[in-house]
Symmetry: C2
Subunit: 402 residues, 2 copies
């Protein structure tokens, strides 16, 4: 399904405003504090990093959105507020309180997100004055400055806004994300914020977000490193007037399809923005026992440095792909394994077809390459997206904080 | 404990001979087929790749050594005999049969190992004539040509031979390994062969090998990729005359200590031979719930491309180390976490100590660096060894087969 694009990013759905301001946390010339706000109360859901060293804002947002309701999001870039102990938790709570005070809402309805260097404390004077400025500057046009405020090493803006029919009404959804393919250390954090004027209850919104993130933000990988600060939050304020989505069914399906579409769209942009990346790889594993197994195998291929450097160098060394699936833990039947690269069959029944060498090198010369591996044991499939490892990757990641 | 070095490599223990010959599988100028032989029957144990796409020789060797007895090992380099289907299995069996015929022993007493490119068939005429030549050339001095025959991108020979007291007798152990830190694609295979004249029963030998490999060959990593062909085999012929080791106790401990010492010695050499590596990193995770958890966390740090590029670039970005432990799945208590790099404490109670920036950069400037992370939940620890990711890594792995 394709969707009608509308302008406005996260402010495209009815009732949402945003703003981003420059406070000097990151530099004097770039926005680094943003506020997103709904004029009516919202249903809210979040998905968070599974990293056990999770940052203070993740702890606070989990707590604040646990009841399934929210109203606003406050975000800073330039400092991750991670590995900051009790002081970090206090600072994240102050961010929520300052935002709530300015908006006249409850602090428990504010989600907090941070991205930047680990192990340093937030400069709270800059953060709080930034929040006050952002609250004062909230507008429908503010999606643009808000988007810029969450960027770190992103080289382009990542946002989308669409509208679609739902229960006889027109529903809008806006979304923005940051992340240069987890390719920039510590700034690696992936943040995603989604707004919608759909009417939906908390439990079913949570279910939809989990499923969509599993097939989008959690299906991209650049180097397998998971940030301390990753977070995706969705706010839904019901202003579109559609009949409340409370169960699975046609309305849920329409909502879910749009949500997945927006999340996959942004996820692919994150991979494309991997600094140093020269290839965009779509890796599909099929013939798997179940979705989880398919995804484990696809991620193992996507994270293999040997596979990633092979694509960078256009080295027709396809054995690395099947070997990476082989050590992934996914079930596979060696004598049934099949592999296609760029539509050409490379392996059939576990043996090379002879399509290799210069012919395969030619196929690997383009930027966008589809890889399909059949594990030969079932009917499930999963797709992940990744990029290659280049000289630039090593350079960028060896020179970051210094 | 330190050990008395003796000459002779894998031929240092009584009763062992070896030879390596040039057959042209790899090139006309390098040895590529080797045979190792014990003049008396040996107890034998093996550990094998867990890769589900395991190569034909792995399948065959598992079967041949399943009874706990062996006598000889035949190895070729230049072709992995992986992803070769039924033909590959037949070829591996012929390698065992040819070796057995030449030596007048049973084919089931021959272990078979291969290393090289995936997806091509063995040139069996060269392999079988090579085996005949190698059998004819067996000698005590042959450890040197045998060692060269298993090398692929190794830039130096990796062997050790030691002697030590055991039950009132002098026991010898020899060992050789190949592997350039799993840094060279498909040639990434790690092979290890250990000989000893100790008298030990099959069950306890297997137990010792498993424990030693877990703390040595399975504790090194360059890029996390596991080969289709990895294998470690030990042969023990009992000619030292020590009382048979049948249970745990002082004799077992002496044997195990020597085995672990030899395995760790070779494992470290493999990491040091990582092409493109500029750093040797010893990563110890302590304060873990159990050994498995400590090792999971240590390997997660060792395999993180962000950590590896940081050490290459001497980037004092310590947040990457704790983040990598955080997403490893190991249990940790954030507020107890401590980190030391090169003996300097970087994190205490989950927070930065302030030792960072230029001071830390200085610590990272040397070649050998010890990293210790305390997870703050228990008393177990594990150590792994790895190297950094450099420009050379990308170059080597992007240009290999072409």
């Amino acid at each position: 399904m394709t969707y009608a694009n509308v302008p406005g990013g996260i402010c495209a759905p009815q009732g949402f405003k945003a703003a981003g301001v420059k406070t000097g946390i990151k530099s004097q010339t770039k926005e680094d504090v943003a506020v997103i706000y709904s004029e009516k109360a919202t249903v809210a859901a979040g998905m968070y990093t599974l990293n056990k060293m999770c940052a203070a804002p993740v702890v606070v947002t989990k707590r604040h959105l646990a009841d399934g309701f929210g109203r606003a999001i406050v975000i800073n870039s330039g400092c991750a507020n991670a590995c900051t102990g009790d002081q970090g938790l206090k600072d994240a709570i102050v961010m929520a309180e300052e935002t709530a005070n300015g908006l006249g809402i409850h602090p428990m309805d504010v989600a907090v997100a941070s991205t930047g260097v680990i192990g340093t404390f937030l400069p709270m004077d800059k953060v709080t004055s930034g929040i006050r400025q952002a609250v004062a500057a909230l507008s429908i046009e503010g999606h643009d400055t808000a988007m810029r405020a969450i960027m770190t090493t992103d080289t382009f803006v990542k946002e989308i806004s669409i509208e679609f029919p739902l229960g006889g009404h027109v529903v809008r959804m806006g979304a923005m994300a940051k992340g240069a393919g987890m390719i920039e250390p510590n700034m690696a954090t992936m943040l995603g914020f989604i707004t919608t004027d759909a009417a939906i209850n908390p439990a079913i919104l949570k279910k939809a977000l989990h499923a969509a993130v599993e097939r989008s933000f959690n299906a991209i990988t650049v180097d397998g490193d998971t940030s301390t600060n990753d977070m995706v939050v969705v706010l839904a304020n019901g202003m579109a007037g559609n009949p409340l989505i409370e169960t699975e069914g046609a309305d849920y399906d329409a909502f879910y399809a749009a949500l997945e579409y927006a999340c996959i769209y942004l996820s692919k942009l994150i991979v494309r923005d991997g600094e140093g990346a020269t290839k965009f790889l779509e890796i599909t594993v099929q013939g798997a026992k179940d979705f989880a197994d398919a995804k484990i195998a696809a991620k193992s291929i996507a994270n293999s440095p040997l596979v990633k450097t092979a694509f960078f160098g256009q080295d027709p060394n396809w054995g690395r792909i099947v070997a990476a699936a082989g050590y992934s833990g996914a079930e596979m039947e060696q004598s049934n394994v099949a592999l296609w690269i760029g539509g050409h069959q490379i392996v059939a029944n576990g043996k090379g077809t002879g399509f290799t060498g210069d012919a395969l090198k030619q196929v690997m010369a383009v930027r966008d390459i589809a890889i399909t591996l059949d594990l030969g044991v079932g009917a499930a499939q999963a797709t992940v997206w990744t990029c290659d490892f280049s000289y630039e990757y090593v350079k960028i990641n060896g020179e970051y904080t210094t």
